[in-house]
Symmetry: C2
Subunit: 365 residues, 2 copies
């Protein structure tokens, strides 16, 4: 790394790569940080053309770091520790970080203070911190004489943090609804059989998604009907299926009890029973448990309740090349009687997964 | 072209490219033909290692041709005419052709005879002719002392001719069902409104498909409800939408009459009213009219009848990122009550078309 040189723009790309290595689940955002040496022979602060101008010269990379999840150092602290361990002086350096450094003391001290204490002269970040408790880092740094530039590669930073930013700004979890249907919108045949409408590749893909969320929610009716384990499983290089390292919280919504022998009482994430049908209460309860991203996995009653409450942020719709003509519908009545009132989402991605189509779409507005 | 040299394999690739320039609609298959000079200084027939071995040497391209649609010369005749016009001697040449040369006299004389008359020494084809009336070309050529090699790039040849081969072997049209639905399988809201569930890109794509088929069929109920024009339209480089050069036959299925002011009586393809609900009768009637490919465009009654009769070869399912919860379903009862009896198709392609997902799938077996 000692010989690597990057522009600020290049360092932000690198910081975004680092950020993406962190876990998508957990209460904290994924953040990456790269420390660049000051430009040699120039005064950074006097040399700038405009207050927001970004230095275009490639500079030596001093250190880097990223956040590895709640309870571990923030990205800025990880980068400063990296420099310290290798005996590198970061005074006068530029910290290139994907999210505005925090100004609040949580499980770790404020990053703004750590950067100040280390003598960093400039901070460039992609995305402003929307969290009222954590924001203010840029202001604190500026007040202490540090040059702060915001918005570098902001679109990429925002895209990486889309789920977290939405949840943090709103204070309730980001809600992803997963559906697996026939082309005519059924999740099961008339006799209730549904194994399998979608194929093994779609199921494996859904398991990979489970390993990126904080919680999976089902209705209590689904627990009784399907007895799901609600674990995130992955097939290792040895071909053996096992539990993924991260297991999401298992959330059962509804007033009915959970049978003592239910599979979701077995090995896997912690079990939470939210005894209400009120979507707002469910989201408040999960928000209080620091859930940033909840995956709704069924069934139609739960999906319909969340859709009717306009509480679905993202749809993962796996559609199999199958027609049933009749059966159990994926969602019930949404009160939509005319096409203009349809619940319309904005497509992010369409991809083939095995024999099935996966459309990822998001709430409009 | 005088300086171009190709191996037999390369010439077949070229012939497949040429074939694809022909129209996908019409009673005849798309065929391409390349004439290669004999290997210099060798006797092709004495030089071969095995009867089916393909000469690996690059040879001069003498001429080429492809079939431009019913009533125009077959590919072999077009290539021979190309050579003749340019004064090129094709005696001893190898004809590389995507489909077995025909042995029957239709609107044009048999290609096998034309190749014999021209003194061609070897014929290499990709796909055998499945048409009982036209087959026998290879046998006739062999009997006359021409070396015949079959099956070169057969998979590509078969893929190009999939629709035609299926229709020709069966004697009834290849049936493609097009659906445009919400994610929950509705083609319209409860009040019947459906403009638009899928987006403009999906509709433009569907119009491009219309311009490749022989016929479009709808039920008489759809004519009364939606008054479709059933034309193939395309937007030109000037941004103006106009009728495509090829207009498919417009087929109305069902006993009810077609209103005198119906839009499908206007400019566009010829109108055929098939006064039956019997799928076999519809297909026989269309087969008798030389229809090789019919596109079913709705509505649910027609789709259900064809699916129930197991008469759908291909599905084009456009799915919009929209949920309705209730409305007019894409297909009615298919008699499927358990998942094992589902009508399952094999996915050929999944692609994003605007905001919608298009899954192209085919009948299994």
């Amino acid at each position: 790394m000692g010989s690597q040189h990057l522009t600020i723009d290049g360092a932000m790309s690198r910081a975004l790569e680092l950020a993406a290595r962190g876990p998508a689940y957990g209460p904290n955002p994924r953040v990456g940080c790269v420390l660049l040496a000051p430009p040699t022979g120039t005064d950074l602060l006097r040399d700038r053309a405009t207050p927001e101008a970004v230095d275009a010269r490639a500079r030596r990379v001093l250190a880097e770091g990223y956040h590895r999840g709640a309870g571990t150092p923030h990205a800025e602290a990880a980068a400063l520790a990296d420099a310290r361990e290798r005996g590198i002086d970061v005074r006068g350096a530029t910290a290139v970080v994907t999210l505005e450094p925090c100004a609040h003391t949580g499980r770790t001290p404020p990053c703004a203070d750590a950067l100040l204490a280390a003598g960093v002269a400039e901070v460039v970040h992609a995305v402003d911190d929307p969290n009222p408790a954590a924001a203010g880092g840029a202001a604190r740094l500026r007040a202490a004489g540090v040059r702060v530039v915001r918005g570098v590669r902001a679109a990429e930073g925002t895209a990486l943090l889309h789920v977290w930013l939405t949840a943090a700004a709103r204070g309730t979890p980001y809600v992803t609804l997963k559906t697996a249907t026939s082309l005519d919108g059924f999740v099961a045949a008339q006799d209730g059989t549904s194994r399998w409408i979608t194929g093994p590749e779609a199921r494996a893909h859904a398991h990979r998604v489970r390993a990126t969320v904080d919680a999976i929610a089902v209705g209590s009716g689904t627990v009784r009907a399907d007895d799901p384990a609600l674990t995130a499983r992955a097939t290792g290089p040895d071909g053996v299926e096992r539990l993924a390292d991260h297991q999401p919280l298992r959330v059962v919504v509804g007033r009915s009890g959970i049978p003592p022998q239910a599979r979701l009482r077995g090995e896997g994430g912690a079990l939470v029973h939210v005894r209400t049908h009120d979507v707002r209460e469910v989201l408040a309860e999960l928000g209080a448990r620091d859930v940033r991203h909840v995956l709704l996995e069924g069934g139609p009653t739960l999906a319909t309740a969340f859709l009717a409450a306009d509480a679905v942020d993202e749809l993962h719709a796996y559609v199999a090349p199958v027609l049933l003509g009749a059966g159990k519908r994926v969602v019930g009545d949404l009160g939509v009687t005319t096409i203009g009132a349809a619940r319309r989402f904005r497509t992010v991605e369409v991809r083939r997964v095995g024999d099935d189509a996966l459309t990822v779409s998001r709430r409009i507005g």
